[in-house]
């Protein structure tokens, strides 16, 4: 073994041999790192494999949300409507079981890492005044930010926000 190495060194010249050895080590190290990363990615992929499916089902949930928001007074008390409500809940529960969680928006401070501003309206500056579409996380990762309307600092007709201090209000 030792002899072999000497022979190789003699033939190639020491600098060459050193370079090859160096490249070999790098290649081995690259491969090791690659394996580790692939392993991590595989775990990630498995965990988030349902992302596309969930993202495609969410609009259906949105539509159900909208349906209940605009349910006519007359129909709201029918047991038939209760049935649909149960279906709505079941869909939510099914998604929750898969690791899907709702993002809090209404009344929160606007945070672009979980909220997407789609408009502004009168209300406390920087607070979410209205939620246009719910946002969701899958296993803690934001898969769809909540679409929100953010307060622009102007006083609405009837201000219901905190009344203790107005120190944060801008003078104009």
């Amino acid at each position: 073994m030792e002899e072999d190495r000497q022979e190789v060194t003699a033939e190639l010249g020491a600098p060459d041999a050193q370079r090859y050895l160096d490249n070999w080590r790098r290649a081995e190290a690259d491969f090791e790192n690659y394996k580790k990363r692939i392993e991590l990615e595989r775990a990630e992929t498995a965990r988030f494999a349902s992302t596309t499916l969930v993202l495609n089902i969410l609009p259906v949930l949105d539509d159900l949300d909208r349906a209940f928001k605009s349910i006519p007074e007359k129909l709201a008390h029918l047991t038939w409507a209760d049935g649909i409500r149960l279906i709505h809940r079941k869909l939510q529960a099914t998604l929750e079981a898969q690791g899907v969680t709702e993002i809090k928006a209404l009344g929160e401070t606007f945070d672009p890492s979980i909220h997407e501003a789609v408009g502004q309206t009168a209300g406390e500056e920087g607070k979410v005044i209205e939620e246009a579409q719910k946002g969701y996380r899958l296993h803690g990762r934001v898969i769809r930010p909540a679409f929100v309307i953010v307060g622009n600092g102007q006083r609405p007709e009837r201000n219901e926000t905190e009344s203790a201090t107005d120190s944060h209000d801008s003078g104009g």
Partner: protein, 637 residues
């Protein structure tokens, strides 16, 4: 030495890629997305936001949210294009003392390279987190029409972001690299790049691995967003016709229709028809209103036809400037997400008179090409180890002339592989190892690389001796084949240097032949397999009769001898189905032996239909195909 990255610094989106195991791959952002919006903002609280976060808060903070900074790179304030853009953006553009332009964000002035640097910085940081190592060297792409000062500004942006910009390359050049065109000798390439907001077409001349831009043209305000707008307008018009309500007045509803329009456009790239269903889109005195409109591909094509036609004008211009006719273009490449639309592909095909290439993800081609360039440049410092592959399958001939593969084609070399084989006859004194190369299932149809004989095998029943055959290909493509009798330790070896003697044409021909003969070959191989099974079964049956014949009732004995004769006569002919039928019959009859033998021994386990005790090798009980020579796959070396 750290690796290099390739960056596509785009007008609306930016991407970063690097070489991994010899191939370019996109590095996702920390948000898990492959694209990063080219948007930078300073929030009201003074926080700097880049990418998705900046984009999501743009509505609340338009005057401090900078997008499309690429349009300002390296331009003077008085430049007509800057003056044009100034009217369209909500943020402030000012003039610097030296005549350059600056943008105002969070009450401070920034030069365009500083803004671009923030995007680059975010890409760099995310890439470092992903790769787990420092990223410094980068190749950044720019449009082919960028002048010196625009290129310098891009380089400055890289420096500000802490990147060592090892080269600025043209976007169409990067695309050509992503398509692997650098491997060709000489060609004229047209790159049709239709992105989200801009359209570029470039004609490149390639030779000896270098690319020269012959001409470029385009439309700085034509892209996928215009396509979406056309569909959006149509949907709103249709809805108005149906319900009398104009959704353009309702910002929230409009947002939903915009998303649906974009989704419909994407779906119509693969489907002929799609349904835009938006329940509770709005409401009037009579109650909620739903949108439910079917859009088919031909209607959509009608809607965007004018836009696609508009893109052909610059194509004609670019050819004219290069002094070329469409027929002189050797390759046409499609880049940019909007080229997924079939109508775009059709129009491009019509204009250039040839099918464009579209195998690389059009959103990612530029960044991938930049990564390749980075790899090549780093290769000048740290040599790239070229790993070859075996162009054809290597194997040996086994019983009945079957080609048994050991190293499948396209295996990266150096590599080695071994498998244990056995003898086909009792007391077989030697085996011939016939090394072959090719894709056909029968050895005779493949190319012979060499043959040698391993002798001195001790007398033993067939299937008993273990002959380990090992293939080894070194980095130079030299193949050594050895065969070793594991019982005696005797070994024979052959080294074949001619394995690389096949020309590219020969390799292609052999691959084509294999495809052309696939059906024929499969039938032939099945016949051989049936024969081998039959031969093996007859051998087993005769052995059983020899060893246990005395325990078998006379009438059964006669039956079995009859069946054996039937299989033998079937083997004389060519009819594989007939051979299989006689094998089946013999197998069933054989199972009766077990039953009668075990019944003679009180207390013995019930007949199981397996081979009688004492029979070596694969039992005939199941009649399962067995090639006879392949004893089994032992641990690979």
């Amino acid at each position: 030495m750290a690796r290099a990255v390739g960056i596509d610094l785009g007008t609306t989106f930016s991407l970063i890629a690097t070489m991994q195991g010899g191939d370019p791959v996109i590095i996702p952002t920390s948000e898990g997305e492959r694209l990063l919006p080219s948007v930078v903002a300073v929030s009201k609280t003074g926080e700097r936001l880049v990418g998705w976060l900046a984009k999501r808060q743009a509505v609340t903070n338009p005057e401090n949210t900078i997008f499309s900074i690429k349009r300002l790179m390296g331009r003077k304030f008085k430049d007509p294009s800057v003056q044009f853009d100034m009217k369209k953006v909500p943020y402030k553009i000012t003039e610097a003392p030296n005549g350059d332009c600056k943008v105002v964000m969070g009450g401070k002035e920034y030069s365009p390279p500083e803004i671009s640097a923030m995007i680059l910085q975010k890409l760099k940081t995310d890439a470092e987190a992903y790769l787990g190592e420092k990223v410094t060297d980068a190749v950044i792409t720019v449009p082919a029409y960028f002048n010196d000062s625009q290129r310098q500004a891009t380089k400055d942006a890289g420096a500000i972001a802490g990147l060592n910009v090892i080269r600025i390359i043209n976007e169409p050049t990067a695309s050509s690299l992503a398509y692997g065109l650098d491997k060709k000798k000489e060609a004229i390439v047209a790159v049709y790049d239709l992105g989200g907001g801009t359209f570029d077409v470039s004609v490149l001349e390639m030779g000896e691995g270098t690319f020269q831009v012959k001409s470029t043209s385009g439309d700085t305000h034509l892209g996928g967003d215009d396509f979406d707008q056309r569909i959006l307008d149509w949907l709103c018009d249709e809805f108005k016709k149906q319900s009398g309500i104009d959704l353009r007045q309702d910002k929230m509803a409009l947002q939903r229709v915009r998303d649906a329009a974009e989704k419909a456009k994407r779906e119509l790239s693969t489907m002929q028809q799609t349904e835009i269903s938006l329940p509770y889109i709005t409401a009037d005195a009579s109650g909620p209103k739903h949108m439910n409109i079917v859009l088919n591909r031909s209607k959509m094509e009608q809607l965007v036809m004018e836009l696609v036609d508009r893109s052909i004008v610059p194509c004609r211009q670019a050819l004219q400037d290069a002094g070329l006719t469409p027929a002189q273009i050797n390759e046409v490449l499609l880049v940019g997400g909007q080229t997924r639309t079939p109508l775009v592909q059709t129009k491009v095909t019509e204009f250039f008179g040839q099918e464009p290439k579209k195998t690389v993800n059009p959103d990612e081609a530029v960044a991938l090409g930049a990564a390749i360039q980075g790899g090549v440049l780093k290769g000048e410092v740290r040599e790239v180890l070229l790993l070859d592959v075996t162009p054809l399958t290597l194997g040996i001939e086994t019983l009945g002339g079957v080609a048994t593969p050991l190293i499948p084609r396209n295996t990266t070399i150096p590599t080695s592989k071994s498998q244990v084989f056995s003898t086909a006859a009792d007391s077989q004194p030697s085996v011939e190892v016939h090394v072959i190369q090719g894709e056909r299932p029968m050895a005779g149809d493949n190319k012979t690389l060499g043959r040698f004989i391993l002798d001195g095998i001790l007398p033993a029943p067939r299937g008993m001796p273990q002959i380990e055959v090992a293939f080894d290909i070194d980095a130079n493509g030299i193949l050594s084949v050895s065969a070793k009798d594991k019982g005696t330790g005797r070994e024979q070896k052959i080294t074949i240097t001619a394995s690389s003697g096949l020309s590219k044409e020969e390799v292609e021909k052999m691959t084509r032949d294999a495809e052309a003969h696939a059906a024929d070959d499969t039938r032939k191989k099945e016949e051989i397999e049936a024969r081998n099974t039959a031969d093996n079964l007859v051998y087993q049956a005769e052995k059983v009769m020899r060893e246990h014949g005395d325990k078998v009732p006379a009438d059964l004995k006669q039956q079995i001898e009859g069946k054996i004769a039937a299989v033998r006569s079937a083997l004389q002919g060519q009819d594989a189905a007939y051979i299989r039928r006689t094998v089946q019959e013999l197998t069933e009859t054989m199972q009766k032996i077990g039953a009668s033998v075990y019944q003679q021994q009180p207390g013995a386990p019930p007949p199981g239909g397996q081979a009688p005790p004492g029979a070596e090798g694969p039992g005939p009980g199941k009649g399962k195909p067995d090639e006879g020579t392949v004893e089994g796959e032992f641990r690979e070396v």
